[in-house]
Symmetry: C2
Subunit: 341 residues, 2 copies
DNA sequence: CTGAAAGCGCTTACAG
DNA sequence: CTGAAAGCGCTTACAG
C-alpha cells in the first residue's frame, strides 16, 4: 500500500496538521521537527495523492488564454478549443478565461497581460508576439509566480516556462522538402506567403524553408516573402500582383493564414492545380483546397491538442509536478488528400 | 456550486446511503424512493465527482495488454510504452499486466485471452489477429462485461468497444500518394513488402495503397505483395530475390516491419537512395534510413499515445463516462528527414 | 428497505 | 510551535 499522511504522522510522532505543514512547506514548525518529518517522508517514499488534496482544498485552477482576434481561421479554431475545454471545467477543476487582442499588435497584447488580476492565477497561455513590451509583461507575471505558457508562437529567452506548439523551423523544412520533391526536376520560381515577419512562428517557418531550398533544390528560385497580414483580401491582392508580375511560378508556400485569398487569386487566373501549393493549418478552406487538388499538402498543428496540453502543463507547473513529456509534444501533422480526418 | 450527494439526500429526504444506492443502481430500494431520488438528481443536474468516488472506493483499474512477441521493433516500442504506463500506475490508479503471445498465431492469442482471470478486470487491450477463435475469445470477455479495446490492428464487427490505432486504409493511400508524387513521371515497378496478409492492418494498408496507385499513378506497376513475416532475415531474402528478378523497380512500400532486412537488401545491391522507399513505423532503423536518404518517408503511429489512449478509453468504458473524442484519434504521422522529432 | 457512522487521503480553521 | 476535530464528495459495512 502507498503510504499516507497517517503513516508519516505515526512514524514521526506528530499530528496530521504538522505533517501537512511540512509537506506544504508552511512555516511555524520547529526546524528539528521539520527535519524529522522530512526524513520519515523520504524513508517511506511518500507521494502525495493530488486528487485527494484537491478534494480537501476544493482546489480550482484559474487559467487565462490570450488569443489574437480577427478573421484568422486557425485562431478561431483555437478559440473553439478553449471553449471546449471550458465545458470540461467542472471535471478538470479549471476556471478558464479567454481574452482576445488585436493581431500583430504588441502594445495591445502587453496591455492585456498587464491588466490581468494576478491574484491566485494558476497560469496564462498566450499566442506571443515578439516585442520588448510583451517580454516585460511576461516577466512581470513570471515574477509574480504565475506559470506562463506560450502557444503556437514562442517567445524563447523570455520568462515563459513552456512552449506548446510545433517546431516551426522543422515545419518550414518539411514544407520545402515536400514542395521540392513534388516539383522534382521542374525548375522555376517559388513564392512564399506569410502573415507578418513580426511573429516568430512565421519567421521560423521561412527560415527552415529557405534552409532546405538553398541546400537541396537549387533549380528553384525562392521569391521575396509576401506579407498578407493573415487577411484573405490582402493575401489575394498581393498574391495576384505577384502572379501577374512573375513568370514561371511553379510552387507556393503559404506559411501563415489568409488561404482563402490565396485560393481565389489562383482560381481567378486558372492556376489552381497547376502550381504546387503547400499551406499551413487544416481549416475548412484548406481542407476543401486539398480535396480539390488546389493544395498538394497542408501542414497542421492540432488546436485541440494544444489547448489540452497547455492546460495540463499549466496545472502541472502550478502544482510543481512532472509532465509526461511525450504527451506534450505537439506534432507537425502533414495532410494530403488521402489522410484527411 | 456543483451539487453533491448531500444536496440530493436533503432534497429527497433520504440518507446518503440511499442516494448512493440509487446513483449506483444497486438494488434494495423501494421503487418509489428510487423515482423520487432520481427526480431530484435530474432536477439538480447532479454529476458525480469521479475522483472523490475513486478515493472512497480505493478504486484500482486492473488492465491487461496483449502484444505479439518477437523481433518486431514497433511491438517492442509498444511494450516499452506499456511499461512507462505502469510507472504511472499509482497516480492513475491502474494495475497493468502485460502479456506477450507469438505473432501471427491465432491459436496462441485466443488461448491467452481465454486464460485471463476475468474477475474485476476493467479492460483488455489487444493487438488483434483475424480469426474465428480470436473472435470467440473476445466475445466471451465482452459477455462477461469486460471492455475490450483493439490496438494497432482492429477486429471490427467483433465485440470490441473501441479501436485505438490509425486508419490503415488512409495510411496506405497516403503512402501511395507520396510515392507516386515523389516518382512523378518516372515509370517503373513498385514493390510492396508486408508482414502477413493475416493481420488486418497490413491488409488495409495494401488496399489503400492499391486504390490510389490504380486510380492516379497508372504508369507505375505494382508487383505482388511480398510477405516477410515482419522478420528482418525473411524480408532481406525475399526483397533481395525480388530485386534480382525484376527490372525497373523504382519504388518500394514497406507496410509492415522487417525494415532492417529491407535496408540490407537495398544496400547490398547499391540501390539505397536510388529506389524511393516509403515505410511504416519510426523505429531506430527507420530513423537512420530517413537520415541517410534510404527512406523517403516514414508513416508512423505513436505507441506512447496509443497506450495512453487505450488506458483512458478502458477506464472510461469501465466507468461509463464520456471520452474527449479528439484526444483519442490516433494520427497518421508522416516523417521526412526534415521533421524527425 | 433504510439510515447513522466511519472512512478514503488530504487540508483547514481553531484552540492551546 | 503543535494538535484534535471537522470537512472535501463519495462509499461501505453494519444495524435495524
Amino acid at each position: 500500500m502507498r503510504p499516507t499522511v497517517h503513516d508519516i504522522a505515526e512514524k514521526a510522532g506528530v499530528s496530521l496538521a504538522t505533517v501537512d505543514r511540512v509537506l506544504n512547506r508552511r512555516k511555524g514548525v520547529r526546524a528539528e521537527t521539520v527535519l524529522r518529518v522530512e526524513q520519515v517522508i523520504a524513508s517511506l517514499g511518500y507521494q502525495r495523492d493530488l486528487a485527494a488534496a484537491n478534494l480537501a482544498k476544493s482546489r480550482v485552477y484559474p487559467l487565462v488564454f490570450v488569443v489574437p482576434e480577427g478573421e484568422n481561421s486557425f485562431m478561431r479554431g483555437l478559440e473553439m478549443a478553449v471553449h471546449e475545454a471550458r465545458r470540461r471545467s467542472s471535471v478538470e477543476r479549471t476556471d478558464i478565461r479567454l481574452l482576445t487582442v488585436p493581431p500583430f499588435d504588441e502594445g495591445a497584447l502587453a496591455y492585456a497581460l498587464d491588466g490581468l488580476n494576478i491574484e491566485g492565477l494558476a497560469g496564462v497561455a498566450l499566442v506571443a508576439t515578439e516585442s520588448p513590451a510583451v517580454r516585460r509583461s511576461v516577466a512581470r507575471l513570471a515574477d509574480a509566480g504565475v506559470p506562463i505558457v506560450t502557444l503556437v508562437s514562442d517567445l524563447p529567452s523570455a520568462r515563459r516556462r513552456h512552449y506548446v506548439g510545433i517546431d516551426n523551423v522543422a515545419a518550414g523544412r518539411t514544407a520545402a522538402s515536400l514542395l521540392g520533391r513534388f516539383l522534382s526536376h521542374r525548375p522555376g520560381k517559388v513564392a512564399v506567403l506569410a502573415g507578418s515577419m513580426l511573429v516568430r512562428d512565421h519567421v521560423e517557418r521561412r527560415l527552415g524553408f529557405d534552409q532546405v531550398m538553398r541546400a537541396e533544390f537549387t533549380d528553384l528560385e525562392v521569391l521575396p516573402v509576401i506579407e498578407g497580414r493573415d487577411e484573405a483580401e490582402t493575401a489575394e491582392r498581393l498574391v495576384g500582383e505577384m502572379l501577374d508580375r512573375e513568370r514561371d511560378v511553379v510552387g507556393i508556400y503559404s506559411l501563415g493564414a489568409g488561404n482563402r485569398g490565396l485560393i481565389s487569386a489562383l482560381k481567378a487566373r486558372g492556376l489552381n492545380g497547376k502550381i504546387e501549393v503547400v499551406a499551413h493549418e487544416l481549416t475548412d478552406h484548406a481542407r476543401q483546397a486539398l480535396a480539390d487538388g488546389v493544395f498538394a499538402a497542408v501542414i497542421n498543428q492540432d488546436a485541440g491538442h494544444e489547448v489540452r496540453s497547455a492546460i495540463r502543463v499549466m496545472k502541472a507547473l502550478a502544482d510543481g509536478v512532472d509532465l509526461v513529456d511525450g504527451q506534450e509534444r505537439i506534432r507537425i501533422d502533414i495532410f494530403l488528400r488521402d489522410n484527411l480526418p
